[in-house]
Structure formats: structure tokens, C-alpha cells
Assembly symmetry: C2
Homo-oligomer: 248 residues x 2
């Protein structure tokens, strides 16, 4: 499995992805699921991928090749984030059809993507692109997107993430959401990649690669555990704990 998420905050974008891939439990690998396409000063795209690894790798390769060979449309020719998302969705379905046409074993070639970035002066945007090539947009009410093993890490996002969240704070929430997922599901694993894009910078921005034994990742995980224990300690006591007479 996989867990990737993005947060579209007022001050910029946060992208976070795990690196575990598995074709069956006895075939575990580690591949980056975060891919960036950057033309400094002009446009920045980030693509997070979940699903069939052969499909996602083929999609990334074609996105690069189309630019190199000036095949239209490509990520450099598109004039809006929506157009770019349409193009990525089209490439994805194309690749899936190719793979399926050669299939002999009823294989699932589907892939899902989080695609986001900024194109020139237009506001940053993020999309979740379905295997069918269509997509949804984040919204002000729901500024985060998730793909893969999304449930373990969703409660903290639901509680904390608002559009106006501070960018570094959003990045910390993303890491906590990832950390919870990794602890609870063996099919999601480190290294964790984190990208923080400052709105209107039009450069890739800050990118962290956090291995299992990275000191910052460890400190963050330990601090979060301590914080949860404290939050638990501060919860209201049951009536009979504080007042033995007032029983239920």
C-alpha cells in the first residue's frame, strides 16, 4: 500500500509521501512516490502516486519524455493547473489501457495521484486524480487530499487542518498523520518524504527525506507520543473518580 497527502494552505503547499511498495506481503520494496517537475520562476508541479508501480513509473517517464520531445500537450505547454491535471489524467488512463491490453492475469493496473503546484501568478492548487483520469479539487472547507491508506491518518487532519493553517504547522500535522499510519499499518513505511512549497516562490522549496532513524523524525514521533499521553491525562475524569458518592 501507500499513504500520500497534500495540504493547500494560504501560505503554500505541503506534500508528504511514504516509500513502501509491496507486491504481496513477501515482496516489499522502497520507492519514492514523490515526483517534482520544476521550471524555476515559471511553474512547479508535484506528483504523488499510489497504485500499480509499473503504471506510476510509466506515467512519470512519459511526463518527462513529452517535455523532452516537445510532444503536445506537456507540462511545459499547459497554461493552467486544471489543464495540467487533465493532461496527467489522460496520460494515466493511456498507460493503464496499454498495460491492460497486454494483460494475461486480470491484473489491476490502476493508479491514483495527488497532483499539485503553481503555474505562474495563478494561485497554487491541488487535485486528486482518479484511475479513470477524472479528478477532484481540494476546497476551502477541505484543504487536504489523501490517497492510499487514508483512514488511520485522517482524524488528526479533520481536527486540525484549516485553509489558514501556518505552513510549517501544516507540515508537522502531515508528518504526524503519516507517523500514525506507519505505526498502524505495515504496508506503509519509511523513508518519508516531505515537500514544503512557499506560495509564489516558484521554486521546488524545502524537501526533507526522513529515514526511520532520522533524528528529527524520531524526536517528532517521541514528542507526539508524549503529547498524546499528556492530552489523555488532561481528559475529564468520570464522575465516580472525582466523587465516589456520585456513582453511575
Amino acid at each position: 500500500m501507500t499513504y500520500c497527502l497534500s495540504i493547500n494552505a494560504e501560505r503554500g503547499l505541503v506534500f508528504c509521501s511514504d516509500s513502501r511498495t509491496n507486491a504481496g506481503m513477501d515482496n516489499i520494496g522502497s520507492y519514492s512516490k514523490m515526483h517534482t517537475f520544476v521550471w524555476p520562476g515559471d511553474r512547479v508541479f508535484v506528483l504523488l502516486s499510489a497504485g500499480n508501480l509499473a503504471t506510476t513509473q510509466a506515467v512519470i517517464k512519459k511526463l518527462h519524455r513529452d517535455v523532452e520531445q516537445a510532444m503536445l500537450p506537456n507540462l511545459l505547454s499547459v497554461t493552467s493547473m486544471g489543464e495540467a491535471a487533465d493532461y496527467v489524467g489522460m496520460v494515466s488512463t493511456q498507460i493503464q489501457r496499454q498495460q491492460a491490453s497486454r494483460d494475461t492475469a486480470n491484473t489491476n493496473f490502476e493508479a491514483t495521484f495527488i497532483f499539485g503546484g503553481q503555474l505562474g501568478p495563478t494561485p497554487p492548487e491541488t487535485f486528486m486524480i482518479y484511475p479513470q483520469g477524472n479528478y477532484i479539487h481540494e476546497s476551502s472547507e477541505h484543504p487536504f487530499l489523501q490517497i492510499g491508506e487514508t483512514k488511520y491518518g485522517k482524524p488528526i487532519l479533520d481536527r486540525i487542518v484549516k485553509r489558514n493553517i501556518d505552513l510549517e504547522r501544516a507540515a508537522r500535522v502531515a508528518l504526524v498523520s503519516m507517523n500514525s499510519t506507519i505505526r498502524s499499518n505495515v504496508t506503509v513505511g519509511p523513508p518519508v518524504e516531505l515537500l514544503i512549497y512557499q506560495r509564489d516562490s516558484l521554486i521546488e522549496g524545502r524537501r526533507l527525506y526522513l529515514t526511520d532513524d532520522d533524528p528529527f523524525a524520531r524526536e517528532l514521533s517521541e514528542c507526539w507520543n508524549k503529547g498524546l499521553v499528556m492530552a489523555l491525562e488532561n481528559l475529564p475524569r468520570f464522575p465516580w473518580e472525582t466523587d465516589p458518592v456520585k456513582d453511575l
Copy 2:
């Protein structure tokens, strides 16, 4: 959907269940999923149910009828928790077969249960009973069990719940796990039922029925939110936040 969980702590058992049932999103109802069978001083059984509501209601009814009509085996005749779990699993598969034999629409009659309690002087035990009637036992390494929408509420249990956890603390963790699930998934909803069984008491114990606007439930939810925000504030800052020179 449904979310139910149990925790087998040294000092007793905690059971927690939501009350939402839905046959399609346009058919939402509210039914208790917590059922108790108590013979004070002799034996206490608690059954939490998930799955087909007709099946689970029929199972509960038969468990009562078998005792009333002294059909053997029944919950009063069994001599161990394992025997009781076997019996409940047998009743469940029996009912499912009956329902399926009359089925015309390829319906899913499956039901899953958390079954636990204490029989005489033997230690309290909890089981998760599969639709197939077989079951697994909690363990010292993994003292909690979940059925239904289990993923949203699992991270907090993974982090906090150990066998030696204090009983009221375990009850608070259970409520937090339920609260996170209800916030993130509309198919799980209040009222929330909580049962706290004191080891060797052989009485039902404390049972709470927490509606959406229950003051204690609200205070707990608000306190937990505040605690999470504080935990987030206390997380380590990124290197460039504390030391602008030391950039990444």
C-alpha cells in the same frame, strides 16, 4: 457501518460501541450494539455486534431464548469463556445459513462480534468472532479488539493501550478512539455506549450511554481537541524555523 472495541486490562474489561446503522446512506437508524447477559455472582457476558442487523438481532434473540428454554448449550450452561465463544459462533453461523437459505438478492448476511466477560473465578477474556463462527483471542501484546470501521480509531490504541493500563484510563482511550472515528466517518455515530467491568466483580458494572449533547461526552471531546492542539504546538520545530542560517 459500525465501530465497536474492547480492551482487556489487568483490572477489568472495557467495551465501547456506537449506535448508527445504515442500509444505504438514505436509510440511517440508531440501534444499540451492546448486549449484556449477566448472572450476578456467577457470570457476565458482553456482546458487541457489527454487520447485518437482522442477523445480529436474531442472534441476540436466540441467545436469550436458549437460556429461557434451557436448550443446551446456552450461556448459562457453558463452563468456560472459550466454550461460550464457540456457542455464540455456532449460533451466528446457524442464523446466517437460515437467512441465506431464504435469500433472493445475493444479500450479505454476515455478522462479526466482540464477545467478552468473566465466568466464575477464571480470568476475564475477550474474543473477536468472525462471520465464519471462528474467533481470535486478545493477547497481552495486543489487549484490544475492534470490529467495523476500525482504522480511524486504531492509532491511538496502538500508541497507548497496554495490558497494565488503568481501567478508567482505558475507558477514556476507548471514548477518544470512538470520538475520532465518529468525526471522520459519517456511518459511525452516537449515542455511544461504554461499559466498564471490574475484574472479579461478576456484576454488569458501570454502563454509560453518551448522546451527542451529553455534557461529559462534549467536555471529553473538547478537552481532547485542546490536548491535540497543545501536542502539536510542542512538536520540534524544523531546523530553519529556529536557526534561519541552518537551512535545508
